[in-house]
């Protein structure tokens, strides 16, 4: 595997200038997670209105893979209903674990992580934002 297979330009773009980065003051839900193997942190903020994610932001310290994953995830879920987001979360999980090989249009950017799927230690980095999102989907927004 070459460095370029692993770190495709799309990943580096998102890592360099992540979308939806920063705190979200009017958030209705917030979750914080850490990757225990490296100490990376992520804070995810959702603004949910009528069961729809109106706005989403994240902040924290992470590697390029987790930052890019978080950035792409926020793009994918913004404007979606909670049930749609739940489906995307399940879909992401089947792809990154290798159960599924194709991606729906909403998650097509995640194709860039194809090479990472062969590196279990790094799959955790890509998964971190999604696990943080799952925390929020299972709790009732306050």
């Amino acid at each position: 595997m070459s460095a370029r297979d692993l770190y495709q330009e799309l990943i580096l773009d998102h890592a360099r200038s992540p979308q939806n980065f920063g705190a979200l003051e009017q958030a209705t839900a917030h979750s914080h997670r850490e990757n225990i193997s490296c100490g990376d942190t992520i804070d995810l903020y959702l603004l949910v209105e009528h069961d729809r994610i109106v706005d989403v932001r994240f902040e924290g310290q992470g590697c390029a893979l987790s930052t890019a994953s978080a950035s792409m995830m926020t793009e994918a879920i913004k404007g979606k209903s909670l049930s749609e987001v739940q489906q995307l979360t399940d879909h992401f999980r089947t792809y990154i674990s290798g159960e599924a090989d194709t991606l729906d249009e909403a998650l097509e950017d995640f194709e860039a992580f194809q090479g990472v799927r062969q590196l279990p230690a790094r799959v955790k980095c890509v998964t971190l934002p999604w696990v943080t999102l799952a925390d929020l989907l299972t709790q009732k927004p306050d």
């Binding site: 770190y7 490296c38 100490g39 990376d40 310290q61 590697c63 390029a64 930052t67 790094r122």
Partner: protein, 408 residues
């Protein structure tokens, strides 16, 4: 530079390729590679004299017992222990430290006592004491690590006040600092403390002499000493070992058992309950023969040369920051590259065949103290050569090209 490259041929794994590139193995602080005599010793044991030790009266058992006890004598000589009786075979350094905590600490520490550790410790020399402290209620105090990666010894005597046990690492697994053990042990003994040294990072790199160090316990791992996994050593002063309670109960560690009461075997058997890692202990003996055949003084001398070279080369890469700058240091180099997360760095170096560790290196308090929660770490052994340092540096330049600047 005169190196020890002639020994590379004894390590079959050094011929391996990774992602179609020659393996550059720079993760020796995590585990060392194994030379042929160690592999052959394991194979010969299982093929020709596999039997349990200390109980069978048949030929194979006698041969296995003789080899197992010979390995104990080799370990004793390797660390210049006064007698083999003080050498206890464990699984690894972690288990050795837990043994001291459970068998010595549980018996001799009380609520008013203090255990002194350092901020430089691996988690394995912190967590066993925290666990015990939760049960007994003694206080844990930590010697501070300075910016350069050395221990702040300026107020050592005050820090040692009321301390009953001090635990510290011989060599840092992150910043490579070689601690002035004999000096610290002297001060600790004056204060009446017993001293346990974590030697996990020392035995591959420098001669270890427990009598010169004057410590009371010394722990190390076979797998970081060119031996197999699953075998470790705790050396202890025999009078301390005799006064301690057993660690685990079972076969091998008893003198006599009735339904009401058991009397224990003298050390070391008292602390070796159950069938030990026989093949691994014998193979650790082979590893020690191999290392002493090269000469630990010679290894230490080369370690120092290669370390200087690595420091100089790593320092030449713009954006690279090597953590710690202790004057006395061994060959573990934690470093960061500006704008590249250590995990990305490690994955990218791996695509060039270069194996380094990334993360907190099981020493989170040290990372916090140095303000670097995660870093990459290259760590060499005597079988590494300057060309491999060059390969690391070349790979770092390549990685920087791929990555460009990324928001930290």
């Amino acid at each position: 530079m005169r190196d020890l490259r002639e020994y590379r041929r004894d390590f079959p794994i050094l011929q391996a390729t990774v992602h179609d590139k020659p393996l550059i193995y720079l993760d020796n602080a995590a585990t060392s590679q194994k030379p042929l005599p160690v592999l052959e010793t394991l194979d010969t044991y299982y093929r020709t004299y596999n039997a349990n030790v200390h109980r069978g009266l048949h030929a194979l058992s006698e041969r296995a017992t003789a080899a197992y006890e010979a390995a104990r004598r080799k370990v004793a000589a390797f660390i210049n222990a006064p007698q083999p009786q003080g050498v206890i075979f464990t699984r690894n350094t972690t288990e050795s430290i837990n043994l001291v905590a459970q068998a010595w600490g549980r018996k001799f520490l009380t609520a008013g006592d203090v255990v002194l550790l350092t901020e430089m410790e691996h988690h394995s020399n912190i967590v066993p004491w925290q666990l015990l402290s939760q049960q007994i209620g003694f206080q844990i105090r930590y010697l501070v690590v300075r910016e350069d990666g050395t221990l702040d010894l300026s107020n050592l005597d005050r820090m040692l006040d009321g301390v009953k046990l001090m635990g510290l690492t011989h060599i840092s697994n992150v910043v490579g600092t070689i601690n002035p053990i004999a000096q610290i042990v002297d001060a600790a003994h004056r204060a009446g403390a017993v001293v346990l040294i974590d030697g996990a990072q020392a035995t591959l790199h420098i001669p270890v002499d427990v009598q010169a160090l004057k410590c009371d316990f010394y722990a190390f791992s076979g797998h970081k000493t060119c031996g197999p996994t699953g075998i470790g050593v705790l050396w202890g002063r025999v009078d301390l070992l005799e006064a301690m309670d057993p660690f685990l109960g079972g076969g091998e560690m008893i003198e006599s058992v009735t339904l009401e009461k058991t009397t224990y075997a003298p050390p070391p058997n008292k602390f070796e309950a159950g069938t030990p890692a026989i093949a691994e202990a014998i193979a650790l003996g082979a590893a020690i023969d191999y290392l002493t055949g090269i000469g630990m003084e010679r290894i230490a001398e080369y370690d120092e040369m290669l370390s200087s070279y690595a420091l100089e080369r790593l320092g030449s890469v713009p954006g690279v920051r090597v953590l710690g700058s202790a004057p006395q240091r061994s060959s573990a180099f934690a470093f960061t590259v500006e704008g590249i997360h250590p995990h990305d760095l490690s994955s990218l170096l791996d695509t060039h065949g270069v194996a380094v560790r990334a993360g907190h290196h099981c020493a989170q308090p040290l990372g916090r103290r140095l303000g670097v929660p995660a870093s990459a770490r290259a760590s060499t052994a005597f079988y590494n050569i300057p060309e491999e340092i060059d390969a690391l540096v070349d790979a770092l330049h390549e990685v920087k090209k791929v990555f460009g600047y990324v928001r930290p």
